[in-house]
Amino acid sequence: MTKKMKIELREEYCVGCGLCEVYCRVAHSQSRDIIKTFKKERWTVEPRVSLVIEKPLSFPLQCQHCEDAPCVKACITGAMYKNELELTLCDEDKCVGCFTCIMECPFGAIKIKENNPSLPLKCDFCFEADEPFCVLHCPNGALTLKEKIIKNVDESLNDSIAQVKTEEVDTDE
Amino acid sequence: MRRVKEKYREGNVRIPSGCAVSGIMNRQGKVFSGKEIIKSISLMRDRSNGLGGGFAAYGIYPQYKDHYAFHMLYERESCRAKTEKFFKDNFLVEKAELLPVSKVPSIKEPPSVWRYFLLPREDKYEELQLSQPGFIVRKVMEINSSIKGAYVASSGKDMGAFKGVGFPEDIGEFYNLEDYKGYLWTAHGRFPTNSPGWWGGAHPFTLLNWSVVHNGEISSYGTNLRYLEEFGYECTLQTDTEAAAYLFDLLIRRHKLPMEIACRVLAAPFWEEIDRLPEGPRKFFKNMRIIYGKALLNGPFSIILGCNEAMVAINDRIKLRPLVAAEKGAMLYVSSEEAAIIEVCSNPDKIWVPRGGEPVIGRIEEVEEKWVSAC
């Protein structure tokens, strides 16, 4: 992934199928194979997106990688940081599990890891892959990839260089 | 001539054919011998296969200018008797005579060819509430469809069609065309896929003063046919030429459209071209195509239409058949090949290849623009 991207949610098209959760597990599993992920690694890998359903509403709750991320500002150890593509990531070595980030995240997109309760679990945008697995496998276009527009030139977080203004482009990858 | 079973005779099956066409006209109306046209069409010998040839000549019967000159082909003596009785019932027969023909080795068992100069009986056509041309068209169709073995080769005024099964130059010789003098000649050499079985199907196809020679195959024949049937035309011969001729008749004589517009209907401009036109012409051509959609001749063709006042040559919209035109003083030449024009006019003033869908129209000069009907 080279460009600064954002996942856009269109809740009116989420059918509540849960494939985003299924493929999020696959993306973060060792085997990256869907059957092995569920049959062998079922309890070691957790989905970083959580589907919330209140019929007829449903949509995946996931980190929005906010530009002015409250969690990054509030993190007492500096573990929650922004990488060069403006993605909010958690350095699990630095994190002590104080969960100030959970206190601050307005989307409730950070949860406590079930199999390691002193670490938070949040969407990492599958930043090693070309495209987040949840976007790739959403069957109804509820999750799409959009190029991120950087509004203000002068103010972005932790000493990243000034960005040029880019137009919002719908890249249907 | 080859024996052809009844069910394969032209008229019962459609016989596609490639052909050669040629046309020469003197725009001042000065007559010239048929020798020229024969010379021109004979050059394109390998465009035909000896199964069809024919000519149309205008201005050949000045002395009977106001009579309808019927050229009749009879396969049997009995057909002549029936036809002549039919003529007595419906016409005043001015003159009836054998057409002067001569023996040509390649022309085998020709039908007997007669010529009549007729005037429709006034009581007859008023009774049917028809105009004179309407009456003639109705009567010709009756003869062709009801009197077996009799075929009206042409029925116009001061014009005639000379056609049969054979190479065009042999047919020309058979009908002694050198002896005729006309100001407008068209010729046709046919390459039908199978033998027509009789002379009626050969070109040119005539209706009143219209004569049409056609090289090509009209893919839209099925549509044009049903469209013509709505207006009462009966396509007995199932040939493209017949359909083209009837369409000209419908558009020009009955719907009174100017020649250019009629040609535009048969080879309509593409929607892309229409969209690029300014407002007025765009609306005109759009509505023209809406009304006359089914009159569009689709598929490859180059057609030469003859009538007393003009000669028109037209190609299909994407020019899938050859057509060349040339001018030398008052003379206008159109043909399938440039060579066939150079053969009879070594250094024309102007020679050009008309674009697809754009008609070449040569008119007799003193006839002013306003005329409409072919009668």
Binding site: T37 | S220, T223, R226
Partner: protein, 501 residues
């Protein structure tokens, strides 16, 4: 009484090696045919609820599911087929009218498949659509008999308003109410995208779709649902629905549950009430009544819109069509027996009406004989499944065709024929918000446009092959058709020769 003689129609095979118990199928099945057992932590199936709509099969990430017709066989009986027995069991259990959706599935011969197309060889060249212009532009409406010019050569004849289509296809009448708003929006968007028209059906026009007016044909049916002045002026054409191919002679029935907030306000009927459109228009009991309605509609829209009349293909269709043309209709739509429907009594759907191929040939012939064929447009409908069917329909005399089932399948319908339940798993024939959002109009519109564009290219290839570069030259061009496997009488009625002739 829990007992039912009806064995499950389908069996669900779950390949345990592939099933990862991710519960996607459970979440997606609106019939609740899958359920999760928390103790076993496994997903199981209730086969009696399965209607084989393929929703679970399509969304299962590991393709672990396969649905088969229940191999349970009755003792072989040529007279009593499995279906006839089950229908009696159902009716004996419910005492109601057997309802079903979509088109008639009976194995009647499909005449499209018995008609072959021509191609140019040697005597004339086929035209390559990649290099030469290929014109499919179609105008539907009344056409003057001839063109008249003023003295100065300018146009004198006034051509009545026409429906201009980029190609001879339109989306047929599927009312908002029987299909979801998302589906109607998708049809509207696709019609605009490909510059053809879609028909609103008898459910009125939802206010969000008024902007698609240029690509809309609004329908006036016997129920007059949602018909008022702005509605009449909204579309670019008006269609009077007399009949529908799947259910000739009877009206429409939209069950009350499907009449939610939006449907009720669009149809101007109280929420939750059954929307019954009566069998005949109660103001059209004869042909002259139809003329009155046609001219009433024309007057109210100041003669700016072509008026179409849609009839089911019945035995006397040729005479009826001729009468309709003489009554002032500009377009005649003929809907064949295999046409689809949201809900219709099974008996009527399976046995009333005639195939559209015959109806179309007969109407085209009769109108030609009457000398008025070129003055009106004829539209064929009733199971047009591919671009080949369209070419054959146009060659038989149609000016354009309506597609319904094909459009639904493009949007995701899997022909499970349970539209009347209102629980369509693909979000098409339902008003339940939990289900309607499964149809993303943008995706559905793109799929519809792809279908139309695909057919457009195929149509041009076939037409070019025949040496024709404008659709006008294909209309009624029966010389381009040959029959195969048909009796002489069938060929005669269709007006085409046998292959080889």
């Amino acid at each position: 009484m829990g007992f039912s003689m009806l064995a499950p129609e389908f069996i669900i095979e779950r390949n345990r090696d592939r099933c990862i118990d991710c519960r996607v199928c459970e979440k997606q099945c609106s019939m609740e045919a899958h359920y999760y057992d928390p103790d076993e932590e496994k997903v199981y199936s209730r086969e009696e609820k399965c209607i084989n709509c393929h929703r679970c099969i399509s969304l299962c990430p590991t393709r672990a599911l396969c649905i088969k017709e229940n191999p349970q066989e009755f003792k072989r009986n040529a007279n009593w087929s499995r279906n006839s027995i089950r229908e009696i069991q159902k009716q004996a259990q419910t005492g109601g009218i057997l309802l079903s959706g979509m088109g008639n599935p009976k194995p009647f011969p499909i005449y499209w498949d018995n008609i072959l197309l021509n191609a140019s060889q040697v005597t004339n060249p086929s035209i390559d659509p990649l290099r030469e212009p290929m014109e499919l532009k179609t105008f539907l409406g009344r056409k003057p008999k001839k063109l008249e010019l003023n003295q100065d050569g300018s146009l004198k004849t006034e051509v009545p308003p026409q429906l201009e289509l980029s190609m001879p296809v339109m989306f047929t009448a599927m009312s908002f109410g029987s299909i979801s708003l998302n589906a109607s929006t998708a049809l509207a968007m696709a019609a605009k995208e490909t510059d053809i028209c879609y028909n609103t059906g008898e459910g009125g026009l939802h206010e969000s779709l008024y902007s698609y007016g240029n690509w809309t044909i609004i329908q006036v049916a016997s129920g007059r649902f949602g018909v008022y002045q702005d509605y009449l002026e909204a579309g670019s054409g008006i269609e009077i629905k007399i009949g529908q191919g799947a259910k000739p002679g009877i009206g429409g029935h939209l069950p009350g549950e499907k009449v939610g907030e939006e449907v009720a306000s669009t149809r101007m009927i109280p929420k939750g009430t059954d929307a019954l459109s009566p069998a005949p228009h109660h103001d059209i009991y004869s042909i002259e009544d139809l003329r009155q309605l046609i001219y009433a509609l024309k007057e109210s829209t100041r003669y700016k819109k072509p008026v179409s009349v849609k009839i089911a293909a019945v035995h006397n269709v040729a005479a009826i069509a001729s009468g309709i043309a003489r009554a002032g209709a500009d377009i005649i739509t003929i809907d064949g027996i295999r046409g689809g429907t949201g809900a219709a009594p099974t008996r009527i759907r399976d046995s009333v009406g005639i195939p559209v191929e015959f109806a179309l040939a007969a109407v085209d012939e009769r109108l030609k004989e009457e000398g008025i064929r070129n003055q009106v447009s004829v539209v064929a409908a009733g199971s047009i499944r591919n671009s080949g069917d369209i070419v054959k329909a146009v060659a038989l005399g149609a000016d354009a065709v309506y597609i319904g089932t094909a459009a639904l399948v493009a949007m995701g319908c899997h022909l499970c024929r349970k539209c009347y339940t209102g629980k369509c798993n693909w979000g098409i024939a339902t008003q339940d918000p939990w289900l309607t959002k499964r149809l993303n109009p943008e995706i559905a519109a793109e799929r519809l446009s792809n279908l139309i564009i695909g057919w457009d290219h195929e149509f041009k290839e076939m037409m070019g092959g025949m040496g024709i570069n404008a659709i006008e030259s294909l209309k009624g061009n029966r010389h381009m058709l040959r029959g195969i496997g048909l009796t002489n009488r069938e060929l005669e009625v269709l007006g085409i020769k046998l292959a080889g002739e």
